[in-house]
């Protein structure tokens, strides 16, 4: 491009944005204000408004502004593997500058008719996931967790166990401790060569977070489409990402909708999550995210909009009866499980899964009854005993067994605690798997 014009007269400065008179700027273009990255968020005639990622502290009305002529970009190549980068796609690991093809982040949408139906099982060994909420490559699903729950540990665990060619971590507002936790986990597991990390810690400016998911997805698209690999993208924590969106909207005088969030929250989140895809050539992008909740409140705009976009959600819950964290079987859901259960897994999978959860619901009713001081009948008591066993053997996040074994465990639980007619499973499946001799309550 050669010569780039430098502007030195800023007319308006807010906490997150600044406005100046400039020519030829485009919406979405990247600029530098005093060397600090900024993005064009509105052009009105000659008035150009920039969102300054690092905040506007220290920017004066005479600061230098240079337009780069392009939206934020990432240099993609196989050299990305093993790297730790910031929100601008710059190394933070002391390694060499990235080289490769320059790609604008936030690329075009995949034509829906060119997508394939996601139907490859993504096993994790965690029964609360594989049995009740089976994941599929090309899926997008968040963990809904309270801040005190070990969501990043579970996320790392899932990432390590899932079969993926590349794992791309997008960390937004990560505490430095959690950042180091991920780094250590990856290096201990010896998988550094198959990870790419885009990190914004809580020490970095909050608006830089806005770039992280698009950076991660652009890298993911390179590996999944250009290299036809199975890519797993981890995004944590999307609540902090949405908070950053709210800051920008507020500074732009937008009228907030529910919970002070911008009216475009749904579309903003969808543009990220919809990057998950199963390509016909075998490459895929699976997104597992974390959305932290405020005391389990899923009606807040962030988890609410997320829930409408993602293909299910996984709830973590502390089960006081067994003293472990479990995957809540009621609130959790994997929408794409129907594509694999009973098809890629054993035929009895859907029926066993449903029977167990239904009986667990009966147990919760019995528990409420007990807490309200009512006498429990014989069935209630069996349910409660079952619930404890079920929680310990199948729902706890520390379970690590193959799916067939989960199903066998399920049958064993059913036969230990229930009568044949109480399980409500289809006759042909019952005939095949129910062993009258093993039934305790004949």
């Amino acid at each position: 491009m050669g010569f780039k014009r430098i502007y030195t007269k800023i007319s308006n400065i807010t906490k997150a944005t600044c406005t100046l008179k400039a020519e030829g700027a485009r919406f979405g273009e990247l600029a530098k204000v005093n060397g600090m990255p900024a993005q064009v968020i509105s052009v009105m005639g000659e008035d150009v408004t920039l969102q300054v990622f690092s905040g506007t502290e220290g920017i004066s009305s005479h600061s230098d502004v240079i337009f780069t002529g392009s939206p934020p970009i990432l240099k993609v190549s196989d050299l990305l593997a093993g790297r730790f980068l910031n929100g601008y796609g710059e190394p933070i690991d002391g390694g060499p500058e990235l080289r490769g093809e320059t790609r604008a982040i936030k690329g075009n949408a995949v034509n829906p008719v060119k997508r394939s139906k996601p139907s490859t099982l993504l096993a994790t060994g965690i029964a609360g996931i594989d049995l009740n909420n089976t994941l599929v490559t090309g899926q997008k699903i968040p963990f809904f967790a309270d801040p005190d729950q070990p969501y990043n540990q579970v996320l790392a665990e899932v990432a390590m166990r899932a079969e993926a060619d590349k794992i791309i971590l997008g960390g937004m507002g990560l505490s430095n401790d959690d950042y180091l936790f991920f780094k250590n986990t990856f290096s201990k597991a010896g998988v550094l060569n198959k990870i790419v990390c885009f990190i914004n810690t809580s020490e970095n400016p909050p608006l830089e977070r806005l770039l992280i998911p698009d950076m991660a997805c652009t890298a993911a698209e390179y590996f999944a489409n250009d290299q036809k690999q199975k890519v797993l993208v981890l995004l944590t924590d999307m609540t902090l990402y949405a908070d950053a969106l709210a800051i920008v909207a507020n500074k732009m005088d937008q009228i907030p909708s529910k919970d002070s969030m911008p009216g475009s929250l749904y579309s903003d989140l969808a543009s990220i999550y919809e990057k998950s895809v199963q390509f016909a050539h075998g490459g895929s992008i699976t997104i597992i995210a974390v959305t932290t909740l405020n005391e389990g409140d899923i009606t807040h705009a962030i988890p609410d909009n997320t829930g409408y976009i993602t293909e299910g959600q996984l709830f973590l819950k502390q089960d006081a009866d067994i003293g472990k964290v479990i995957i809540d079987p009621f609130r959790s859901l994997s929408r794409l499980k129907q594509n694999v259960i009973g098809k890629k897994t054993r035929e009895d999978h859907p029926q066993v899964m449903n029977a167990l959860v239904r009986l667990y619901a009966d147990a919760m009713d019995a528990k409420t009854k007990k807490e309200n001081g009512f006498d429990l009948n014989e069935y209630d008591k069996r349910c409660l005993a079952f619930a404890k066993d079920y929680s310990r053997k199948l729902l706890a996040v520390d379970v690590n067994i193959p799916i067939d074994q989960m199903l066998d465990t399920g049958w064993q639980l059913l036969q230990t605690y229930f009568k044949k007619f109480e399980v409500g499973i289809k006759e042909n499946i019952m005939d095949h798997y129910w062993d009258d001799e093993k039934t305790v309550n004949a």
């Binding site: 509105s42 995949v110 996601p118 919809e274 009606t299 289809k426």
Partner: protein, 589 residues
Amino acid sequence: MNTGKVTGVISNLIFIEAHGAVTQNEICLIHSENKQLMAEVIRVTGTQVSAQLFETSMTIKMGSLVDFTGRMLEVELGPGILSKKYDGLQNDLTKMSGLFIEIGQTTPPLDSDVYYNFTPLIQPGETVHAGDWLGSVKENWIDHKIMVPFVLKGAYTVVSVVKKGDYLINDVMAVLTSEKDEKIEVTMVQKWPVKRAINAFQQKIRPHKILQTGLRVIDTLNPMAEGGTGYIPGPFGTGKTVLQQAIAKNSKADVLIVVACGERANEVVEIFTEFPKLTDPDTGRTLDDKTTIICNTSNMPVAAREASVYVGMTLAEYYRAMGLKVLILADSTSRWAQALREMSNRMEELPGPDAFPVELPATIANFYSRAGITQLNNGAWGSVTFIGTVSPAGGNFKEPVTESTSKVARCFYALSQKRADAKRYPAIDPIASYSKYLDYPEFVENTDTSLQKGWVALVKKCKDLIRNGLEARDQISILGDDAVPVEYHVVFWKSEMIDFALIQQDSFDDVDMNNSLERQRYMFNKLMDIGDMEFTFTEFEEVATFFKQLINILKQMNYAPFDSAQFKKHKKELDKALLHNGEKMVTQL
């Protein structure tokens, strides 16, 4: 053509300085990097025009040239629409090149190189009006009528019409003259602006005929009528989409229009992959043959969400004008409302509740009112039945989109989080949900003959049975199992039986997923007979055990093909259980 130039960009809101006259809702084309990007005029202030862009605006430069087309957003109507997969602006997605949708890429909605076999339905010399049938071609297996263009006003005389034979869609099929002697050449294709309803019919009447969806909780308890409207609100994870897809797969409609508006791409992919393989239970053809999918998923341009629902409705009206039964499903109308909100917000309009535009209720009402059963000019009947899903923020039905919709839609299928948590699918709340058609005398009369005398009364009785059961359950949980009369347990368990055997339905089971009205009638009578029986139990525990056995048998019946040997076997078991459990618990009929 009038022109203008771009003076401002905020996301997909474009500001244009126009030279000359500009019409509200006119389509303009913005020149950007050798492409022309489509936008719709949404505000005119002097020479300042605001337009919503149906693309991302990253490539647009200040000062770019803008052409105003003088036309509103239109669809092309003609044979070849069925089995197509369109984006929100009626671009054929299958014809697009590349894995990704490039900015500004457009493709023709119809196939100009396919021959259709035309049969004339009219003679030269006859007088015709807009919407009258000139001839018919086979589109898949449907008789697709070639009609007098809807835009024509007044009477026309047929000068000529081509002979039976194979023609391309742009060939002239007939020549008409107006009363003023203007000559009009009619091809198989016509255009229509999507935001206007096609009104080429004699009259629209009150819906009275049941539209079979194959779902028991709808057909039996909360029936949808041909030409009716309904909506499905529910928090995420309660099965809105699964329910809507079940309706799509099993409904007795001639033509199906599915609008995926701002929802997940993978759900559309599921329809793409499944529909060509699924058999339409009604005709034995593949479901794809009678279906058009309009797909503007959540990552596709936001402004085109609004367009997508209107495109879908216009296509539905077009097929209705051929005397067909059309079902249109839109998932989800909330995303459309959100798109309106985003734009209203960018335009800095004063907001209504929850920052939605103030005209939202009127916009929604206007849209739902385009459904209906109509008598065409030639006396034939056609219908558009519309079912929309609503995604209420926070699962709270007291929000603007749900409230606005509740005022116009006649059927309400409330999805309940509690039922979904307990995996009681479909999670339609049997008490909160309703069908206002049950109160239509026309509907009562129709079911009296088409199903059985007193059908609606029986349905209402069943609802009371469920209501009583819930009350009994509350009493039991407040007072305790043994502190209430055993009779309370019987009342409760009768409602549980209705829940498990009627309301719950396995949409992933080949047999259970779709019930004919005949089967529903049979099972409903069976269940209501049991509901009428008086049982005498001594212990409350016996009640649960007895009914669980009944439920188990009833579920096995639901899984068995209707009237099969297996079905009959379970029916015998049921009769036996009802009689013989009486040893201890005396059964009286």
